[in-house]
């Protein structure tokens, strides 16, 4: 039995979610291969081959893989899939976009966003915005799985010594082409990997106030910034800040929910945080039902005071 993990990277840096995905793969007690598909990926290969539990790094380097479009990556993965018992990728937008395409090309199902490996063929995954957990057994010959990163502790990114094998590229499908990207580059930690998250909701009132209030707090705590859907829809924060059922799933040590009511869909994204602090002027806001510490009051008074006293 050999397991394939598909690495997520930007052709330069191996994304940390890959290390969480490798941890899930590790629970299958089999040899693990890591596929790096991209273009001019030498620094990714260097990082990949020393990851602690990888036996072999497979590299496909060609121009048509540079933006990781689903059509081309799926062709590649399909071409090597048959020798593997399990194929895993993190449940990021990269993994979610690509893996179902591979599974369907091979007439197999997919198990999405697992949070636990029970055995070779049985896994647990959240359903209904995390309000229930389904234990699912698969009868497919190859198990296609996306992995919720926050449910698995990352494997060590050093100590390994994997062999590297170059693959020949599959033909360009010419079906799609990335023509633009607006990727937010800040110096804040990545939302899904941050130890502290300061998240703001509709209560912030405007984009200006969102940043005016939350940035100083995030700076003090070296935190990432997050937002509710309402805050993103209203234009206070960019889309990639959204935490929730349909945004990012986070599990930091400390999560501040500021001016966020606590809708099911928001809770789905942050309920595994270690400590939750809620600041809201409405003492009946549902967020207080699951916060460890609650402060009832006007966030425009509380947040600046908190920043001043930290």
């Amino acid at each position: 039995m050999t397991v394939l993990v598909i690495a997520e990277h930007d052709n330069k840096v191996l994304k940390s979610s890959t290390l969480n995905c490798l941890a899930a793969a590790g629970e299958l007690n089999a040899e693990i291969h890591l596929l790096v598909a991209g273009h001019q990926v030498s620094s990714v290969i260097e990082a990949a081959k020393i990851v602690s539990n990888v036996a072999k790094v497979l590299v496909a380097d060609a121009e048509q893989y540079v933006f990781h479009t689903a059509e081309n990556i799926a062709e590649l993965v399909t071409s090597i899939a048959s020798t593997y018992s399990h194929i895993l990728v993190s449940a990021t937008t990269f993994g979610k976009n690509m893996l179902p395409r591979v599974a369907a090309l091979l007439d197999m199902s997919q198990i999405s966003e697992i949070v636990s490996v029970e055995s070779e063929d049985t896994f647990i995954r959240p359903i209904y915005a995390g309000n229930a957990l389904a234990m699912i057994q698969s009868s497919d010959a190859i198990k296609f799985i996306t992995v919720r990163a926050t449910a698995f502790d990352a494997v060590l990114d050093s100590g390994g010594n994997a062999e590297v094998e170059m693959l020949s590229a599959t033909a360009d499908t010419l079906l799609s082409e990335v023509i633009g990207r607006e990727i937010s580059a800040g110096d804040r930690p990545e939302l899904t990997a941050a130890a502290v998250i300061v998240s703001g909701g509709r209560g912030l009132g405007s984009e200006k106030k969102y940043y005016q209030l939350l940035e100083p707090l995030a700076d003090k705590l070296s935190a990432a910034l997050g937002a509710s859907r309402a805050a993103v829809d209203a234009g206070f924060a960019p889309n990639d800040y959204q935490v929730g059922q349909t945004g990012k799933i986070v599990a930091p040590d400390l999560y501040f929910a500021i001016g966020i009511s606590g809708a099911i869909q928001h809770l789905a994204g942050m309920q595994s945080s270690k400590v939750i602090v809620a600041i809201n002027k409405d003492e009946d806001a549902p967020i207080f039902q699951m916060a460890d510490y609650g402060l009832v009051g006007d966030l425009f008074d509380i947040v600046p005071e908190l920043v001043a006293k930290l």
Partner: protein, 249 residues
Amino acid sequence: MKILVPVKRVIDYNIKVCIKKDGSDVDLNNTKMSINPFDEIAIEEAMRLKEAGIATEVIAMSCGTLASTDVLRTALALGADRSILVELEHNPEPLAVAKLIKVVCDKEQATLIICGKQAIDDDSNQTGQMVAALLGWSQATFASEVKIDGDSALVTREVDGGLETLKVLLPAVITTDLRLNEPRYATLPNIMKAKRKPLDTFSAADLGVDVSPRLTLLKVLEPTKRTAGVMLENVDALIGKLKTEAKVI
């Protein structure tokens, strides 16, 4: 250009699901059901393309029990021209749904499939990508903007780091994210009109698709519940708790 929009009947998004006492499944008896919110956005986008003169016909389809007729009527009330129910005894898995959509798409000769990026019941986020694979079409998932440009579509996608603009060759599958549009409300006259619009029913066998499951649901578990913590008097108390009790700052 014909647009096919698959829609699913799911638990209403305002309702929190209950688990059956024996842990065999979730309990949907007497639960309010609605059209999956992402699918409503898909119908809206298709309607806008029709109103812009780009699409000629919008066909809604659903795969499920007879009860799914409701959500097809909703789609018709929102403007879809006609609808197709693939009647099944149980909710099928995404791969089976993808196969059914493919066959209907082949029959209807649609050029574009717009579907929700995920259903809010099983949160799988698979069907659109699988349909694209089975048809050999291009795919643009998690769309927040769609422009049709000759034989291609320009689609802005919500990705983890921000936004990406993808140019996909038509025919294509597009899956919708929340910010693609704000769906209209069905007006009473349109709800009345929807009752007279065509609704054709097929079985999976009629379409020659094997919908037998690959996955077995062994049990459904309660997630660990968080309980409400303490309400604090002031900021000093909060800082104290975070430092000495939780030790997170």
